[in-house]
Symmetry: C2
Subunit: 378 residues, 2 copies
């Protein structure tokens, strides 16, 4: 079977390496940057295409012989790339996390009879799958709460944070108001609000704060309480609030000695140097999802804990592992016909499909990613 | 007697108002900004001259009939203005706190038979006078330590600081390496280093850090241990270290989307808005000077504590009171011939002159500024 991976960056390369383990997969990696393609391990059997998929007709060309496409391009070009893949009638698993509403492509995907799984990483991704899965286990799901963070193993003063993507995208998380749901109503709070300290076994104390991370769940899950919070080492968000409140994240230009500068541009430039992970720098992913509801007349709480670490053997970051392997496992479910729903499918649809959740856990376990489930009566 | 005050800003205006209380003083205020001159209380008997003393010959012109000049211009133009005053053969008390070495003008001042008291504020200023005074009280002075800060009475997140001058001058304190003396050797440490928490009665806990504030004392006081530290509310210097270490105080230009910007310029611009005191905003000045040495074979410690607050009746900031009134009291000592030394005279020379220290305390007391002295045997 032919699989084309668009984007062979940090996550894309982990996806390519995972797929090429499968003897009957023929994998093609596409990237605009030849250095990125050259960096793919020389021994792995992958066809390398250097191309800019933003060029007209280029997506149709590179996915022409694909049985499935995995889209791992940067977020800002994700929506349009996904549209081109769907127009080419190709099933697709997307981890570009674009800001647009994926459901705008739902009619197109259905008309093309295409399965387009979007947001297929960790959170969004695994967190949505858990929501969908638990929804099928309960008579009524009324509370969904997700804490998630990707952090460097070594804490370095003062930020104790490293950004895999451009800091300007991270800073967006620190400025965009956070939407969540309480008593069935949408609540909008400033980013970085409602800090709380939480202890995670094996990690220590982290600080959680509101981020705008519910995405499709706000539309697809009928629960009166839903919230996503991001995790950082304590102190990080204090600094981010100081920067934000002092105007360093402002996008409006400021006159500085006769030249016009957007403070956010200088800030992200200065922080980029400090937030860039060093080669081989170890990270981990921590996530806790709490889902509550009713089953057979009793209130229950399902808690899911994930703690995944950098893989020293393959030098693969935890961020790439947890995001990329979720995408490759779901891609296999689509390829083998285990998940067949047409249209735009956020991961909660996969969680609702019998067998898919268990298969995902089995796939994780093979890759040494362990999700623990705890169920208690309340 | 004619007194000319160059600069009628925040401190200059307090100086003018103090001098005009004296029936036999004829006071002239000179400023480049007409608004500043108009802001001087209408009732006070002062001659107002709007002039730019940077223009050639202008200083000589405006000080021509003066018996004494008080120089309260901005620091960057202080040295040259002082030179012009000395060339005009006028005794002068200077609070411009210029960065250049004042002693470069010592020969000129002596040749002109001029008394030029420099650095005549609180610290430098009062702290130097204390050092000079205690030096005359001890057989040997071996330790001088000064803690000083001017702070807003109301603490406002996140900086809990207001800058009376341009933030870029304050940021200079946070970047210029601090020089102090230990075991007779000059020690150079980074700015913001060696933070320590100290409790001040009536104020609470403040945080002290090294600043480059010894100035003339390093040359004029033969003590093996000398140090000055600046006080801020706890947490301020943490933020300043984060900014500095992240490059926001860098003076080297950075390319931001094609335009070249000095980070320090954007930073001081953004902080200026947040650090500007609001009209009527209350402040206080806190200072503790500790001097140790030998007297009659015993080790003694002299401790001097100052806590001065905003004057609501006259709406005068504590910073203007403590700086300006030190200058006006010393000016009177020069005018009445109590202090007659010629040349460049840092305030420690005044402290060493019999009677001057007691006269200063009496002058302070009249203006409701109280310095307490505590002497203990060690």
């Amino acid at each position: 079977m032919n699989i084309t991976v668009l984007g062979a960056g940090l996550v894309g390369s982990a996806i390519v390496e995972d797929l090429t383990q499968e003897i009957d997969f023929c994998v093609t990696a596409v990237d605009v940057n030849p250095a990125v393609l050259q960096a793919l391990t020389a021994e792995i059997p992958v066809r390398r295409i250097c191309a800019d998929v933003r060029e007209p007709g280029r997506v149709a060309e590179v996915v022409a012989d694909a049985d499935l496409v995995i889209c791992a391009v940067p977020g800002y070009m994700g929506f349009e790339t996904l549209q081109r893949i769907i127009e080419a009638k190709k099933n697709v698993v997307d981890i570009s996390f674009f800001p647009e509403d994926a459901f705008l492509l739902d009619d197109l995907a259905k008309a093309q009879s295409v399965t387009a799984v979007v947001d297929c990483g960790v959170a969004p991704g695994l967190s949505n799958i858990i929501a969908g899965y638990v929804d099928t286990q309960l008579d009524a799901l009324d509370r969904f709460l997700c804490y998630v963070g990707g952090l460097p193993a070594i804490r370095q003063w003062p930020y104790e944070y490293k950004a895999v993507f451009s800091p300007i995208d991270v800073l967006e998380e620190y400025t965009r108001p956070a939407r969540f749901v309480e008593y069935g109503q949408e609540i909008i709070r400033p980013a970085l609000s409602d800090p709380e300290l939480l202890d995670f076994p094996g990690v220590g104390t982290l600080e959680a704060f509101n981020t705008d991370g519910l995405r499709t769940l706000q539309r697809t899950l009928d629960a009166p309480f839903m919230k996503e919070k991001t995790l950082r080492y304590p102190g990080h968000i204090h600094l981010m609030r100081v920067f934000r409140e002092s105007g360093f994240f402002d996008a409006a230009p400021v006159d500085v000695g006769g030249v016009s500068v957007r403070p956010i541009d200088l800030t992200s430039k200065l922080l980029f140097d400090r937030w860039r992970p060093q080669p081989g720098e170890e990270d981990f992913t921590v996530m806790q999802v709490i889902v509550e509801g009713e089953r057979a007349g009793r209130r229950v709480r399902h808690t899911y804990d994930l703690l995944d670490r950098y893989d020293r053997a393959t030098q693969t970051t935890s961020m790439a592992r947890t995001t990329g392997y979720t995408a490759t496992i779901i891609a296999r479910q689509v390829l083998r016909g285990q998940f067949t729903q047409k249209g735009i499918c956020p991961p909660e649809f996969i969680g609702r499909t019998p067998g898919c959740y268990a298969d995902l856990l089995a796939g994780y376990a093979k890759r040494n990613i362990h999700l623990t489930e705890t169920i208690v009566d309340l």
